[in-house]
Amino acid sequence: MAAAHKIRQVQLVGRKIRQLRKQHHLTQTELSHRIGIQQSDLSRMEKGEYRVSLDTLFKILAEFNLTVGEFFDGTHADELPPREARLVRDFHDLPGEAQREVEDFIAGKRRQHQTTEPNGN
């Protein structure tokens, strides 16, 4: 499987949820009531110890009504090397059509790379 560079740090997402909750001046009890889980479970989720259903995850995202760019703004700068963090920020600043063109360009480059790589699979 070609390894796509998706962000996978569960602690990162948990930390971001905590940060957003505090920005919105919500206690754990208030947010957990809104999304229908126990306060103790939200606490474990913020620590990256608790897995949730897709429903719960998207209820949280909907609660803060965030785009991906906003979700990661200021969060993954310390998780990615500066050059990659800048690329992600620049990408999110582009309009939708331009983002698709960049994706097509990267997909083309990946295919080109895979076909020229001697042991590529």
């Binding site: 569960v10 998207f58 995202l61």
Partner: protein, 300 residues
């Protein structure tokens, strides 16, 4: 009246219902238990009516139509007919609370069900109760505790229990996949799937196939993940299993995204958003950017 003794009618209808459940033919089983309930009600036998109501509720819950059964099952439990009826009612209430994501309530009733099963010395019900407790613990991300309960369930379960054993092996396999013990996960999940195919229990394959899809994703085996994910999606659509469809779309999108096929990933995530989260327009782009496998519990 047909001229046959009423008890025979009742027992044969319940027996028919149980055979249909074992074969995964739940709609027909529901009808059989409904007729058994009517037979008992006509005969004015409250204990048999409670028994049939418990059987019917179990099937309704499996079909995701259990909300209306909850007050009736609570009333039956409160009447405390005997340990058999009380176990069945408590177990049903635990299952319905699990479906409604009220995990702590589910755990409470599952422990009552276990207590009654122990009083009766029924190994299959002891196994089922441990399995229910384990399901709730797993939904609460208490994976180690869930495994201990699944192992207790496996030890108590009769060797002949085809579909229940298959479900248990599937659940245990998912736990092992979450722990990163993929070799054990594949062994357990493959055994589960074989048993379910042998029993022709298509509906119950959905969860095991989704777990296999997840485990293959964790192992980096895209093609196998996609194969199981697509079968799970087809079966879930056929059965009208919304949770199954939702999880299949997510896993298929994740598989395509990790493989670098952004168009296919966009298709799956787009459908997931349109059908299940219409208010969350940002969902597809979020899932294209963030790999949430370590955050998601397919059994929650």
């Amino acid at each position: 009246m047909t001229g046959r003794p009423l008890a025979d009618d009742f027992d044969s209808l319940r027996g028919l219902g149980e055979r249909l459940v074992a074969a995964g033919r739940l709609e027909e089983a529901l009808a059989a238990f409904e007729r058994a309930l009517q037979t008992a009600a006509d005969a004015g036998d409250p204990r048999q009516a409670a028994l049939a109501a418990c059987n019917r509720a179990a099937v309704a819950i499996a079909l995701d139509r259990g909300e209306a059964e909850l007050p009736r099952q609570r009333a039956i439990l409160m009447r405390d007919f005997d340990d058999v009826v009380s176990h069945l009612a408590a177990y049903n209430i635990a299952r319905q609370h699990e479906r409604a994501k009220s995990f702590k309530k589910s755990l409470f009733y599952a422990r009552i069900a276990l207590d009654r099963a122990r009083l009766l010395g029924r190994q299959d019900w002891i196994a089922g109760s441990h399995n229910q407790i384990a399901n709730v613990l797993l939904a609460e991300s208490q994976v180690d505790e869930a495994i201990r309960e699944y192992e207790r369930a496996a030890a108590a379960m009769p060797a002949t229990a085809g579909v229940p054993r298959a479900q248990l092996l599937g659940n245990l396999g998912y736990c092992r996949a979450l722990q990163g013990r993929l070799r054990e996960a594949f062994q357990l999940l493959s055994r589960s799937l074989r048993l379910l195919i042998r029993a022709r229990a298509e509906r119950f394959q959905i969860s095991t196939r989704l777990d296999l899809c997840f485990a293959h994703l964790e192992a980096g085996r895209s093609r196998d993940a996609r194969r199981h994910g697509l079968v799970a999606l087809r079966l879930a659509e056929r059965a009208g299993d919304a949770d199954g469809i939702r999880n299949a779309l997510y896993l298929l999108g994740e598989e395509a995204s990790l493989r670098g096929d952004q168009a296919a990933a966009g298709d799956h995530f787009g459908r997931l958003q349109r059908e299940f989260f219409p208010g969350a327009a940002q969902l597809p782009s979020f899932l294209m950017t963030v790999d949430v496998r370590k955050l998601i519990n397919l059994h929650a």
